[in-house]
Point group: C2
Chain length 377, copies 2
Amino acid sequence: MHLEIKRSYFTEQLNDVLKAISNRTALPILSGIKLEADNDKLVLIGSNGEISIEITIPTEVDNEEILTITEPGEAVLPARFFTDIVKKLAGEYVQLKSTDQYSIQVSGGKSNFVISGSNPDEYPLLPEVNNEESLKIASSALKTIINETNFAVSSSETRPVLTGVNWQFFENEIHFTATDSHRLALRKLKDKSHAIEIKNAIIPGKALHELNKIIEDSDEDVEINFSQNQVLFKYGNLRFISRLLEGNYPDTSRLFPENYETNLVINNDEFLKAIDRVSLLALESGNSAIKMTIDSNRVVLSSNSPEIGNVEEEVTSVDLEGEPLQISFNSRYMMDALRAVPEEEVSIEFFGTMKPFTLQSNTSNDVIQLILPIRTY
Amino acid sequence: MHLEIKRSYFTEQLNDVLKAISNRTALPILSGIKLEADNDKLVLIGSNGEISIEITIPTEVDNEEILTITEPGEAVLPARFFTDIVKKLAGEYVQLKSTDQYSIQVSGGKSNFVISGSNPDEYPLLPEVNNEESLKIASSALKTIINETNFAVSSSETRPVLTGVNWQFFENEIHFTATDSHRLALRKLKDKSHAIEIKNAIIPGKALHELNKIIEDSDEDVEINFSQNQVLFKYGNLRFISRLLEGNYPDTSRLFPENYETNLVINNDEFLKAIDRVSLLALESGNSAIKMTIDSNRVVLSSNSPEIGNVEEEVTSVDLEGEPLQISFNSRYMMDALRAVPEEEVSIEFFGTMKPFTLQSNTSNDVIQLILPIRTY
């Protein structure tokens, strides 16, 4: 391998590939980044066995020549170490050149590094994902969907399927569901164009979290392909592959109650800040439960801890109807849900002290957040 | 106690006092902040037993009334919890009001907190420091002195005196010395005005670090008073008290060699970046040693690790004279020292492969950094 590449552009791409690479890996070669230089492109590959990222760098970007390949070749180099070097080198360009036995000389400015690598033939092949089960979503829409649901996946491995987001494919709609069994986020997307024949796929929350960091908030399409065990996201020069979670996702459709007893419409930001304040006392006493009392015309948040003190804050409602109510909930779940309803006004429907309640935008029902109360009464 | 205070100003002062307060304290009451409200001022006190901070808030600041005291009184409240509440409350002002038995009601916007406190009579008295042994330094100069020396104190408690900076008082000069026995920083300050009769005082590095975060880069004077065991820094409405370290500070005056064998003058920033790059390889192989080779007209940094690779970088010298040299040093110590010589060009004097070398500004000898080489040859 012998090539020269624009350092700033190369650093960005390396940083993206790093998102799939872990130093704590059972397979030591996976702590490396694979470089495949061709006559007219350089491919970067990183993988932690669960997520794999492949980025193809062309010789020209926006009519500027950023890559000159003098001699094709392959290499596997320690990923973080190599990226740090490229980042800190002087000079606008960096040169890579094979020396003996898997080693690569990395030069820029007046620096010359020689880095020992691994045998590229030992790097595992990335999973194959065919193009049959295919779907397109604009990257900005995909980011929104991830932001509205991904926070609610379970962080516990007790029920592995709950660590993922369940994508359900209907004829004209896709549903995205995440739950840790204490709260649930459901996003619905109207989509008539997809060619997906499977019923559902469970995508690991960690994969969606990393994908969200790489794709930009633009109207460029992300093409998504599903195979038996894998999902592939294609976005510009990026291929992002994740394994799917195996197992049956619980049926959550019956969780949503109908006919609320109490409906509260409230300013999202003001409510979020009030809960943040009141939760200070709950957190100081080592839990996250705060109490809400609704009577005919007042909404009061409160928390009480004999050792530490107590707090009460009245919040102003935009609209309030139905039965009086006392309910306790986890303040963090409430704040997460409010942040995931990106509208100025939120409608909260309650079905009684012991029943789950739901949050929705006051103007759309694309996204619905459900929270189980805490039994304190 | 019953008072009202401007929230933004109060938050800033609380944040400063917090710098002396630790949650991991042997004396539980010290995790609290003490408030003493008088007819015309509010005093905030925090202490971890080693550092104490006292801030006096007047009723007016810059002709604006920021504090109204309706009823004097004292309280001790959980410091971080109380500060978080004040920070997150709504409204421009916050009200504090004693309720029963050491509790304080904290109100702002529509929030009402009641916080349980401790008995203010049980809060320890701050050490007394008299005004006899006194000295004034502009806060900007004091910050510079701390930045140039404090990084070199020892982080190990093996020799406690080395965790502090030694202030030595001469008739017309003050010397500030910090060393962890691998490197040393010495700052000299011409000062004829001081009225200090003690020979020296060892101030804990941790105290100077916190003080540095509080005082601003201005020409306002800091008045410094020494007593037997304590030092007091007075700055505006702040009193910052630290214990002094007991014991004899080693005599470091004989460490500085004369008549260099090799003298290298080099651009500070370029040299720092080159060392930062070359150290990447050393760090990847788990140590910090890099090698420098000087011959008649070339200066080359290098590092070599059989498993990981090697690196070589030539650096451009501004001036170079004397004997050829090979020397190894800790890259972190070199970078720390370069950052503490705040001049564009640095003069480095070497006295042979095994002897300590020194860094100084090319234009002034107020500050001198000394580093012991690593024996690798």
